[in-house]
Amino acid sequence: MSTEPLGAEVAVPLIPGIVHPKSAAPSTVGAPTIEKETRAEEALDLPWHVVVHNDPVNLMSYVTMVFQRVFGYPRDKAEKHMLEVHHKGRSILWSGMREPAELYVQQLHGYLLLATIEKVS
C-alpha cells in the first residue's frame, strides 16, 4: 500500500501572494523598512479559511480519511469535521495565511472534495 497521499502530487505553489522577508540584509538603513512593510502585508493577508462543502456522493469514511491525510488530524477530529460538513453543509477545516490555504485546497481537490478558500470579511 502506498503511503504517499494522492494530493501531495498537486501541491505546487499557485500564486505568490505573500511577500517573504528579505534574508540576512546587510547593515544598511533600508533593511528595517522592508521588514516593516512585509509584516504589514502579512497582516493584511490574514486570515483565509479552507472550507469543505457537502457532497452527497463522497463517502463519509472517505472524507474522514482525506481530512486525516491532508491536515494530519486525528480520527475523532476528522470525523467531527466530516459530520459538520454532512449536517451543516460546510466546515472550516483550517485558517491561516493564503499560500498554505491554497495548497490545502489543491490537495483536497486532488481527492475530489468540494473545497474553497475564503477570505474572512
Binding site: 502506498s2 494522492l6 499557485l14 463517502l59 489543491q106 481537490h109 475530489l112 474553497t116 478558500i117 477570505k119
Partner: protein
C-alpha cells in the same frame, strides 16, 4: 462475489460476468469529457466569484495537474483490470487481484467514476441514500447500482487500509 484481503492484495473472487463488466467500466465511467456538468463537478472552482484572479490562475496551473493525477489513477486501475479481459463466457467466476500499493489509485478512480455517473444522471441525495432500491429496471437504475457498487468497493478498500 467474495472480497477479502490476502497478504499484499485485495482479492475479488467468484465474479459473475455482470459485476466483472461493471468493474471493467470503471475507467470509461470516470471519463469527464463531453459533459459540462461533470467537468464543473470534477474541476470545481477553488473560490467563490470574488476571487476571479485565483480562479483564472487555477485553470491555467492547477487544473492540468489535477487532470494528470486523475488520469494516472484510472490508468493504474485500467492495467489491473486487464486481468478481466476476455469474452463474457470467460468472465464467469473470475478473480481480480488488486495490489494494496494500488489502493490509492483505486480509491481515486472509483471516486471519479461515482462522481461522474452521479453528475451525468443528476442523482438526488435521496436516490443516492436509497440502498434498498431494486430491481434494476432502467438505465438510470443501473447507473445508481453502479455508484453503490463502486461505493461498496471504496468502503472495503478504506477498511483494509485502516487495518
Amino acid at each position: 462475489m467474495e472480497i477479502r484481503r490476502r497478504k499484499n492484495q485485495i482479492e475479488l473472487s467468484e465474479l459473475d460476468p455482470f459485476l466483472a463488466e461493471l468493474l471493467r467500466q470503471i475507467p470509461a465511467s470516470a471519463n469527464t469529457e463531453g459533459a459540462p456538468s461533470v467537468e464543473q463537478r470534477i474541476f470545481s472552482p477553488p473560490a467563490n466569484g470574488k476571487e476571479a484572479e485565483l480562479c483564472a490562475e487555477w485553470k491555467i496551473y492547477v487544473e492540468p495537474e489535477l487532470r494528470r493525477l486523475f488520469q494516472t489513477a484510472t490508468q493504474t486501475v485500467g492495467v489491473d483490470l486487464e486481468q478481466l479481459n476476455g469474452n463474457e463466457k470467460s468472465l464467469a467466476n473470475r478473480t481480480l487481484c488488486i495490489p494494496t500499493k494500488h489502493a490509492d489509485a483505486w480509491l481515486s478512480a472509483l471516486n471519479q467514476a461515482r462522481l461522474v455517473i452521479a453528475a451525468k444522471n443528476n442523482f438526488t441525495e435521496l436516490e443516492l441514500n436509497d440502498h434498498l432500491r431494486s430491481p434494476i429496471g432502467s438505465r438510470r437504475d443501473l447507473s445508481l447500482f453502479q455508484v453503490n457498487f463502486y461505493g461498496f468497493l471504496q468502503e472495503f478498500i478504506l477498511r483494509e487500509m485502516d487495518c
